[in-house]
């Protein structure tokens, strides 16, 4: 019987080894270990053995069954692994084919610039103020110290609708309107928006363009505050190692008036084609709010002072991105707009 058992084991192990897949291996299990299989038969037949041999024989049968079962399981695991591998193999794809496109659009470059500027000033405690694009002469000029007949009105030829109403030539009327609304309280605002001037459209002129201006009014606002604010702005917008310099200039609504240059971000100041060999690039105009403007806005220039600054997002975008023609901003060519998607820095 022992010999019979040994032979059975050899047979079973042989059958396990030659089973090629999970199904045939299951057949092997049923055949040898099933209820009607030879091992069960052997166990049933043990009753015929003498009592003293039974334990030894039982142990032997269990041993064989254990060995066969272990072999079965290990073979089963191997076969399953093989089956999975085969399936995976069959399922493999060409990973170099392009992914399914997520179709999204993106911002216009001017919006990108304007939001960047807005967000910087919001972080400095500014509110965003807006106003109408069609304005009264009063807010566009007179409230800004540009009475009728002022020579500086020459500088900005305008689109009039009536003698008294025009398309705003700058976003400054929003400053005048804000002062009226704030009724003598201190404030910090940034005013982005579209403006219009009587210019023929060419590479450097556009009859419609955008502007963003800032205004801070309060007690004891100083020119040094303007300089510090602009310095931070320049570093945020054009890089931490930018220097700024102020040059005297003239705007009717500020006194003193300055223009701000930044050290060239392309050459760092040694001179190149971007900065026209000067090392400096003109970015914006600024100044201390003219007392007449404060007065007309309902602020007492003996108590309050303020600073203002203004810049052109088109110019900044052209400098930053190396755009050569202002008309690109208004033709809305997707081959142009589509380039302003990715993050920087």
């Amino acid at each position: 019987m022992e010999q019979q058992l040994q032979q059975l084991k050899e047979e079973a192990l042989q059958a396990i080894a030659s089973a090629a897949d999970v199904k045939s291996l299951n057949d092997v299990r049923v055949k040898y270990l099933g209820k009607k299989g030879p091992v069960t038969d052997l166990l049933k037949g043990m009753g015929k053995l003498p009592a003293e041999e039974r334990p030894k024989m039982g142990a032997l049968v269990n041993e064989v069954r254990g060995e066969v079962t272990a072999e079965l399981e290990s073979r089963m695991a191997a076969l399953e692994e093989q089956a999975v591998a085969k399936k995976l193999e069959a399922e493999s794809i060409d990973v170099t084919l392009p992914g399914t496109a997520v179709k999204t659009g993106n911002h216009h470059p001017l919006t990108r610039i304007i939001e960047e500027i807005e967000d910087f000033f919001i972080s400095m405690g500014y509110e965003v103020a807006e106003g109408p694009e069609v304005e009264k002469d009063y807010y566009n000029f007179e409230a800004l110290n540009l009475p009728k007949g002022h020579p500086a009105r020459d500088m900005q030829d305008s689109f009039y609708i009536t003698e008294d109403i025009l398309l705003r030539t700058h976003t400054s009327p929003v400053q005048a309107r804000t002062m009226e609304v704030k009724e003598g309280k201190p404030f910090k605002i940034i005013c982005p928006g579209k403006v219009y001037r009587r210019d023929n459209d060419d590479a450097t002129h556009s009859h419609q363009f955008t502007q963003i201006e800032g205004l801070v009014v309060g007690e004891n606002i100083r020119m040094s505050d303007l300089k510090g604010t602009l310095d931070r702005f320049a570093k945020k917008m054009f890089g931490e190692d930018r220097e700024i310099r102020l040059r005297p200039s003239y705007f009717p609504f500020t006194e003193p008036s300055v223009e701000m240059d930044i050290s060239c971000f392309k050459c760092g100041g040694s001179g190149c084609n971007v900065c026209k060999k000067t090392g400096w690039i003109e970015i914006l105009g600024a100044g201390m709010v003219h007392p007449n403007v404060l007065r007309m806005g309902g602020y007492d220039p003996d108590v309050h002072s303020g600073f203002a600054f203004g810049m052109g997002p088109e110019r900044i975008a052209m400098l930053k991105y190396g755009i050569e023609d202002i008309r690109h901003f208004y033709t809305d060519d997707l081959r142009f707009i589509g380039q302003f998607r990715r993050t920087e820095g």
């Binding site: 419609q208 040094s224 604010t229 007392p291 002072s305």
Partner: protein, 803 residues
């Protein structure tokens, strides 16, 4: 303003400062120097020549063979094509090896068989602008005065050994429209003195008042009129130095009398005029306003019709000059003039501006009067011109000045404390430094009780308030010295308003949905301005448009947006999805201003699927764009309030247009372009939408509070209906919602079929309903009950139920 540094050195000593350095200093302290033009740069080997003989070239009619003494032992043979070349002239010769502007090199050459050793030059060939070259030499060579020595360097004679600074003046600094003004500025920067021009001259015994009567009938427009009379002048060419300076300043020399008035204009910034005394004919000058329709022929040969507010100089009978703008042809100085009246006057800026604008006539004189000339230098400029006429034209200046003077010449007094200056700047400039700057500026001041009491010089019309002094101190002390600080104010949190924040959400959403942001022009043609408008109002039209195409403000964003779409498709970008957020302008709102309403619009054409290798080609359709609008409503929390109905609009497909309603009010439109519109714009199927953003964003959205995730399962039931094609899905859905009871959670359309398998004129539409009770598990019976109600309600409305 062009500033010759040679000329400037008459008034201020800038020795030791290189032109480029001087330009930089001037720029940094207030006046932008646009260009530094070294006029002799690149010029070499250009000398005076004496034309000894001049004969016609045997082979060429238009060429002359000249023998020219250029200061060497042997004369040179030079071929010259200029019509005005002649023996005896002193000329400018570019010798072989010479360099001319633009890198031109002069070499020995053979012209039609004759050798030419150099070139006789015109002023243009030497780099002069044709506009400043004296007319006599405009189309030929330049002829030097007889005393020029052959072989001498010609650059000095022509004033080319000079550097010219081009100043870009801001409108407030009209004082720098004169050499003296620039001299004061330079002196302040370099801490130097200013040397004034010589005005002293001899006087004849005869008084000017004996020859000339003066009456001013318009003292407000002309508060000061000073006339000098100079007799026995000899009109002729000006000396070389004067012509050179005028040309450097951009003025064309004419004759010595006119040149002197222009020279003094440039020197003092005070426009002068010279009349021929005999042509005046009456010995009288009357300044008055023109009579209506009165006519004057100005020096440029144009007849100008005048109006009563134009100020004229007359001889008592008829106008002889347009005051402050231009002289009259009838009293012009000419070659035979012997007696000259010099006019030095103050004309009010407003009067001159008005006249010059209305007549479209701007001159060096009018630009200066418009800005206001220095009241204290008017008469002095007249004296200076008289002195120069005595000196350069052999004239005898009659005694005295014929004068009308009611002009206020008082300087403006400005009182400002050093503390105020420092507070405004955020600096601590010592008192003494401020005093030093005021001295350099030549601003007379007194220190009274620690305050500066300053009498601002009348040449500086821009100085009138304390802030002006703050600027003067700051710019000369140096803006680099200002520290960088931040404002110390009440801390107010910054940020976007809810509207602004939501507008950013809208943009982000539309971009996420695949649309690119466009920015188009607000101005369009009047005929396009109301196309696709959600709401029309009177148009807002410009008074003086530059073109009809940009004459009127838009009332819809779509026309320009569609133009942008066409622009792209015409450039092989076949799939275009654009949106714009911008204002439309509805005429005649509050205060006479149009009402500006912010809209969001979009236009989509071409493929809408991913367009990759996996997807089929699926062109955009109405529903794709409607989905974008619905998604936007969801983003804004407005899904419940938004609905759609069949809409209508010119230019849109009548069967494929929907009105967008917010709480039942029309706030937008979605539609496919009408086929004829598509054809006209050269577009394939294009779907557009436009929404009144202001109305959408005005809605305050409710605070977001979470609903518990259901603990109990939901149950779904589907139903398929057959209905006539015209029955709208929204009507069926509404019936379902009305009859389902309150456990209905959601209704979804999952299939619509209108194909061949349907009876003619019918369609099949399938809904899936989801039922849920958050409190308990629903029973099948309850749901079947609800479903039965729905079925009978739908059947009652004529729908057939399919199984």
């Amino acid at each position: 303003m062009k500033v010759s540094l040679n000329w400037l050195s008459d008034y201020v000593d800038y020795e030791g400062v290189e032109p480029a350095e001087l330009a930089e200093k001037i720029t940094r302290s207030g006046i932008e120097v646009d260009a530094v033009d070294n006029r002799s740069e690149g010029l070499k080997n250009i000398v005076v020549g004496h034309v000894l003989e001049c004969s016609q070239h045997p082979q060429a009619d238009k060429l002359n063979i000249c023998r020219v003494d250029v200061g060497e032992e042997e004369p040179s043979q030079i071929i010259c094509g200029a019509p005005n070349v002649a023996a005896g002239q002193k000329v400018v010769v570019a010798r072989p090896g010479a360099r001319l502007p633009g890198g031109v090199k002069i070499k020995k050459a053979k012209l039609r068989g004759e050798e030419s050793h150099g070139m006789i030059c015109s002023l243009q060939e030497l780099g002069f602008d044709g506009k400043v070259v004296p007319k006599a030499y405009a189309s030929g060579i330049y002829v030097l005065p007889e005393d020029a020595r052959p072989g001498e360097d010609a650059l000095g004679l022509l004033g080319l050994d000079d550097t010219v600074l081009e100043l870009d003046l801001t409108p407030n600094r009209s004082d720098a429209l004169s050499m003296l003004g620039v001299a004061y500025e330079t002196a302040a920067i370099l801490s130097k003195d200013v040397k004034l021009p010589e005005t002293a001259h001899e006087e004849a015994a005869e008084p000017a008042s004996g020859r000339l009567n003066l009456r001013v009938d318009a003292s407000e427009a002309n508060p000061l009129y000073a006339a000098k009379v100079v007799r026995n002048v000899k009109v002729g060419e000006s000396p070389e130095w004067l012509k050179a300076r005028l040309m450097a300043a951009g003025v064309r020399p004419l004759n010595n009398i006119v040149d002197i008035t222009n020279y003094v204009l440039m020197e003092y910034g005070q426009p002068l005029h010279a009349f021929d005394y005999d042509r005046l004919a009456t010995g009288e000058i009357v300044v008055r306003h023109a009579s209506d329709g009165e006519v004057i022929e100005t020096l440029d040969g144009t007849e100008r019709k005048l109006e009563p507010h134009h100020l004229v100089i007359t001889n008592g009978r008829e106008p002889v000059a347009l005051a402050g703008v231009m002289g009259g042809a009838n009293s012009e100085v000419h070659d035979g003039t012997t007696t000259v009246v010099i006019e030095a006057a103050y004309f009010s800026p407003a009067s001159v501006r008005k006249t010059s604008r209305e007549l479209g006539l701007r001159s060096d004189a009018s630009t200066r009067f418009e800005k206001g000339v220095d009241p204290n230098r008017v008469a002095e400029a007249g004296e200076r011109a008289a002195a120069l006429m005595a000196d350069l034209a052999g004239g005898e200046v009659l005694a005295g000045t014929v004068l009308f003077d009611e002009l206020d010449k008082e300087p403006k007094r400005v009182t400002v404390s050093p503390d105020f200056i420092n507070e405004r700047l955020g600096m601590k400039i010592p008192f003494e430094e401020m005093e030093e700057i005021l001295r350099r500026l030549q601003f007379p001041y007194e220190a009274v009780n620690g305050q500066f009491v300053i009498d601002a010089p009348t040449r500086r019309v821009d100085i009138s308030i304390p802030e002006d002094i703050v600027e003067e101190i700051a710019r000369l002390y140096g803006y680099d010295e200002i520290p960088a600080t931040l404002p110390v104010t009440e801390s107010i949190p910054g940020g976007l308003t809810p509207y602004q924040a939501k507008r950013r959400t809208v943009r982000r959403y539309l971009e996420g949905a695949g649309l690119y942001q466009a920015i188009t022009y607000s101005l369009t043609s009047e005929s396009e301005s109301q196309k696709f408008a959600l709401e029309t109002a009177p148009v807002t039209r410009l008074l003086m448009p530059m073109s009809e195409e940009r004459s009127t403000l838009r009332q819809s964003l779509l026309p320009h947006l569609l133009e942008a779409v066409t622009y792209n498709t015409a450039r092989q970008t076949n799939s275009v999805a654009l949106y714009e957020v911008g204002s439309v302008f509805l005429g005649e709102g509050e205060d006479g201003l149009p009402t500006e309403v912010e809209h969001a619009a979009g236009a989509v054409t071409g493929e809408w699927s991913g367009g990759g290798w996996q997807d089929g080609q699926k062109p955009v359709d109405f529903y794709a764009v409607k989905g974008i609008v619905e998604g936007l409503a969801e983003e804004l929390g407005l899904s419940e309030k938004l609905s759609f109905r069949k809409g209508e609009m010119d230019g849109l497909h009548p069967g494929r247009t929907a009105d967008v309603l917010l709480d039942g009010e029309r706030v937008g439109i979605i539609g496919q372009l009408h086929p004829s519109e598509q054809k006209a714009r050269d577009l394939k199927e294009t779907i557009v939408f436009e929404l009144n953003l202001q109305q959408l964003l005005r809605e305050e959205t409710e605070a977001l509070i979470y609903t518990p995730v259901p603990k109990f399962p939901s149950i779904s039931r589907d139903i398929a209906l057959v209905v006539p094609k015209a029955v709208q899905a929204a009507v069926l859905e509404n019936t379902i919602r009305t009859h389902a009871g309150k456990t209905l959670k959601d209704v979804r359309i999952f299939d619509v079929y209108e194909g061949d398998r349907m009876e003619e004129g019918m369609k099949s539409i399938a809904f899936s309903m989801t039922y849920l009770d958050p409190e308990r598990t629903l029973t099948d019976e309850e749901v079947s009950e609800a479903h039965k109600r729905i079925v009978s309600a739908l059947e009652a409305e004529g729908a057939q139920i399919r199984n």
